[in-house]
């Protein structure tokens, strides 16, 4: 087991390093001149000063060849220094750290609401004996994954803010402002949870031990809660990594829709002004979260399900 943990940690570190390198290469090597883009984006009214370009070139290391520049950047990144954001002049790490709490709050609320709604839907659909109700409930998740997230958010704003005037449409103020964005995030999340969980519940309900429980006179609810759900939720756990990746991606869109401050807004703005250090910082941060969540799922899974035997073999992140 210890061997497995160490190997898995090493793999996670390697994947992160590779993600850093990939994002560096994408932003650095692809066509387009980053320095003049930066100079234009930070210049006043389009007048670009040649001296400013020279200054930026030396500041960001573009006067050095690519391998040296990469080594310098990677060394700094290992010390937690991702450079300074071009548009704000502040260190990338502190820009991300400032924006993070809002996004954690939003995605956390979205994840909770999504898991609760999706889980409830799957339970209700497998529990009910009414055929039409089951078919109706099971037709909702495919709908949830087909709807564009930003559009769902806008429709919620239209109905609950502009028509019913119940909830604020924009901004970061308090719990009331959190409801609509969290519900928007919960739609695709809940849809995936419902799909995975209902499928695994239906499999589990065919198992012999469920029949045994039924034969012994256990009621529908008891079978579901005590026997089926506990076994069915284990396979559903594996999609959590996927869900978290999707949540931070959707947060970019949702924060833009609701004009909330947070990491997503920062990302969208950074892409818009070609703030390369900030974009790279955000991309690496997103994959850090993604890799960490998958690592935790992989490490916790054998503890939850004793049937799983950990072989010390090499299999990389099973995202």
């Amino acid at each position: 087991m210890r061997r497995y943990v160490v190997l898995r940690l090493l793999q996670a570190a390697m994947v992160l390093w590779a993600a850093y390198t990939l994002s560096f290469l994408i932003l650095d090597v692809l066509p387009g001149d980053p320095v003049s883009a930066m100079a234009v984006s930070s210049a006043d009214q389009g007048v670009v000063d040649p001296a400013r370009i020279e200054h930026l070139k030396s500041e960001y290391g573009y006067d050095k060849p690519l391998p040296l520049r990469y080594a310098g950047y990677l060394g700094a990144a290992l010390h937690g220094d991702f450079g300074d954001s071009v548009s704000t002049g502040r260190p990338v790490t502190s820009v991300i750290a400032d924006a993070l709490p809002q996004t954690v709050q939003l995605t956390g609320a979205g994840l909770l609401a999504g898991v609760a709604a999706g889980g409830g839907l799957a339970m209700a659909a497998t529990c009910t004996s009414a055929r039409w109700l089951r078919q109706l409930l099971l037709s909702l998740p495919p709908l949830g994954v087909s709807v564009p997230t930003f559009w769902a958010g806008l429709m919620l704003v239209e109905v609950f803010s502009f028509r019913a005037r119940l909830l604020p449409a924009f901004g970061n103020d308090g719990l009331r402002g959190l409801v609509l964005p969290a519900v928007t995030l919960a739609i695709p999340t809940g849809a995936i949870v419902a799909q995975v969980l209902s499928k695994s519940l239906l499999t589990v309900l065919d198992e012999p031990y469920v029949q045994t429980a039924r034969a012994k006179g256990a009621g529908r609810a008891r079978i579901h809660l005590r026997h089926a759900l506990r076994n069915a939720s284990l396979p559903a756990l594996t999609v959590i990594g996927l869900l978290v990746g999707q949540l931070i991606a959707n947060a970019v869109v949702v924060e833009t829709v609701f004009s909330r401050n947070g990491l997503g807004r920062v990302t969208a703005a950074a892409v818009a002004v070609q703030d390369l250090p900030l974009v790279q910082g955000v991309v690496v941060f997103a994959s850090l979260v993604f890799v960490l969540v998958n690592l935790i799922v992989d490490l916790v899974y054998p503890l939850l399900d004793p049937r799983i035997v950990v072989a010390g073999g090499r299999h990389w992140s099973s995202a």
């Binding site: 994947v15 590779a18 994408i26 692809l30 387009g32």
Partner: protein
């Protein structure tokens, strides 16, 4: 009873007829099966109709609307949906239905490019990894793992930052984000087929590697990849529209679906249709492709 007799008769007839006639019988049978299959699934028929309409709109928009998507009548701005304007009009009095119909071309172009990039690059990677094996497999799959470790939207955003704005660039960015999934599916299919007995037989008969690849491995490995391509079509529609909603797609006057929604956003309070109807179009398209993918994946293949 009569149906059993009928079947017996056709089977006998098929046995008696020459080899040349046998495939024709089978094909007619296949057609009847397809009709029966579709009749039992009204949702699937609807999905096919929706996709047909979208294809029609993107190649021949003139068949669905005669109005110009770019010029409006200022006096008719903000008309609600009705007989004259099915989807209403926007702030400049342009017909929204015409804009959605003409926008299909841009959205479908972006989506097709995205799927093609993911399909070609991912398929090639997976094919090479699965067919070559050994260290080539290892190196390629580690690269695919790295692609998978960056959440798709962030990979696309990094590419958009590097490449710049525009429909084609956004499409390429979305396509690259889909490469890893295609590579994985293609590789696992190639590995599965490579171990089949008929491949071993072909090998032992002295067939060259390209013969094995072209005649045996590729035709048998592409099924699940095509299903994935259908699914990826829906995913790409969503991703492309998200990126153009964020403002990285087509430049303003062009009526791309995601851009239409972000335009409508400014008038959400007084003109709901400008946001709602283009969004419903996207949702219907994605829902339809997902339904078709499900049919291709399980229901149709399962009855063969």
């Amino acid at each position: 009873m009569s149906s059993i007799l009928d079947k017996g008769v056709t089977a006998e007839a098929a046995l008696r007829t020459s080899d040349a006639a046998a495939p024709a019988v089978r094909r007619r049978d296949g057609g009847a099966r397809a009709v029966r299959f579709l009749l039992r699934r009204p949702g699937l028929v609807l999905s096919i109709l929706v996709i047909a309409a979208v294809v029609l709109a993107s190649f021949w928009p003139g068949l669905l609307t005669s109005r110009d998507p770019l010029t409006g009548v200022p006096a008719q701005s903000f008309r609600a949906p009705g007989g004259a304007h099915w989807f209403g009009t926007d702030e400049l009095g342009r017909d929204l239905y015409a804009r959605v119909v003409h926008g299909a071309a841009l959205s479908m172009k972006a989506t097709l490019i995205a799927v093609a990039v993911a399909f070609a690059a991912g398929g090639l990677l997976g094919l090479l990894a699965g067919f070559a094996g050994r260290w080539i497999d290892d190196v390629l799959m580690r690269f695919v793992d790295v692609l998978l470790s960056i959440p798709a939207l962030f990979l696309s955003l990094a590419l958009v930052t590097a490449l710049g704005y525009g429909t084609v660039k956004v499409a390429v960015a979305v396509g690259v984000a889909g490469v890893a999934t295609f590579a994985r599916v293609m590789r696992s299919e190639v590995l599965r087929v490579r171990q089949a007995v008929y491949v071993e037989a072909a090998r032992s008969c002295g067939t060259r590697w390209y013969g094995v690849l072209g005649r045996h491995v590729l035709p048998n490995a592409t099924g699940p990849v095509l299903v994935l391509a259908t699914l990826d079509f829906g995913t790409s529609v969503l991703a492309v529209s998200s990126l153009s909603f964020l403002g990285y797609g087509a430049a303003p006057p062009a009526p791309e679906w995601g851009t239409l929604i972000s335009d409508g956003r400014n008038y959400l309070a007084n003109a709901w249709w400008m946001t709602a109807l283009p969004g419903l179009t996207i949702a219907a398209t994605v829902l339809a492709t997902n339904r078709i993918a499900r049919a291709l994946d399980g229901e149709w293949a399962g009855r063969r």
